[in-house]
């Protein structure tokens, strides 16, 4: 299985894929923005402020999903001793970090009209802020220790420690009294959000996931070419 992640095999796909992913992203985002800003109904309580949900919630989901994947690949790099797993983790981090920041900032903008405050030390918000700090530490560690033998160990440790925070974020609304409501979209149980809002939310999530994939592919290609540049030096 790990042979699949070898650069010579995978580069043929990853070098061609970005242009198709970019095209698909632009199409899906255009549909999503039309749905989110114009076609979807306003909320009976929050009025039009509810539209912020269409960027805030997908950004938070992608940030969490990306960190979970990043951790799995970091564990994989330990188990299989495969350096390309750590390369995948490294390439996932920038988009995850940006989505985390988007979730925090748009959440803050949404908080003002809804709760009357830009910021509260609420369990969900605080745990998302901690996740952003782990992303920042992870990215900084790669920058500081790049080229050193132990960089994979350090970054993997940061990822594994940060992963403890992921279930805390997910269940924070159930474990503590927070300003956030409990989850409205559930895979295993009933979803309480109306279909007219669920559709734009789904489209925007798909668009954000495509953007995350696009950045991952571009970053992964950059890292592979960096390795190839070093290889040319050694010839």
């Amino acid at each position: 299985m790990t042979k699949f992640f070898k650069p010579n095999k995978i580069f043929a796909i990853t070098s061609r894929a970005p242009k198709y992913v970019l095209f698909l992203f632009v199409v899906v985002l255009s549909i999503g923005l039309t749905e989110a800003l114009i076609l979807s109904p306003e909320d009976y309580k929050q009025s039009h402020a509810v539209r912020i949900m269409y960027v805030h919630v997908p950004a938070a989901w992608i940030a969490l999903g990306t960190f979970s994947s990043l951790t799995l690949f970091s564990i994989g790099s330990f188990v299989f001793k495969n350096k390309y797993f750590s390369l995948i983790s490294k390439s996932l981090a920038p988009s995850g970090f940006v989505f985390n920041i988007i979730a925090l900032i748009t959440g803050s903008i949404w908080g003002k009209p809804t709760w009357g405050t830009w910021w509260a030390w609420d369990a969900r918000i605080t745990s998302m802020l901690i996740l952003a700090l782990f992303y920042a530490m992870y990215l900084l560690a790669w920058r500081i220790y790049e080229g050193k033998e132990y960089v994979v160990k350090i970054t993997s440790m940061i990822a594994i420690l940060g992963a403890i925070n992921v279930p805390i974020i997910k269940f924070s609304v159930d474990w503590w009294n927070t300003l956030h409501q409990s989850s409205s979209v559930n895979i295993l149980s009933d979803t309480s959000i109306h279909i007219s809002m669920l559709i734009p939310l789904g489209i925007m999530t798909a668009a954000f996931a495509l953007f995350s994939l696009l950045i991952f592919l571009m970053k992964y290609n950059t890292e592979l070419i960096k390795i190839k540049n070093k290889g040319l030096d050694r010839l």
Binding site: A36, A49, P94, I109, P113, I225
Partner: protein
């Protein structure tokens, strides 16, 4: 209709700023990543160009090197 979309019942400033922040973040991340990729590709092309005949032959044996060169020529 247009005024209604812009003002959004008084919530326009919040909604539009949230969407604008998201799209500006996307554009910034995309261009920064693209710049980093282009820089590495250019570095690869110039290094490849400076190899002697024997080293070029060895380097060309790797399919990923050929892929990089062909993807760079499309930019």
């Amino acid at each position: 209709m247009i005024n209604e979309i812009i003002s959004m019942n008084g919530y326009g400033l919040y909604v539009w700023s949230a969407f604008a922040f998201t799209l500006i973040s996307f554009a910034s991340l995309y261009f920064v990543t693209k710049l980093q990729l282009s820089k590495e590709q250019s570095k690869f092309v110039s290094k490849f160009g400076s190899l002697n005949v024997d080293k070029t032959r060895v380097a060309r044996l790797q399919s990923s090197n050929k892929e990089i060169l062909s993807s760079t020529s499309k930019i």
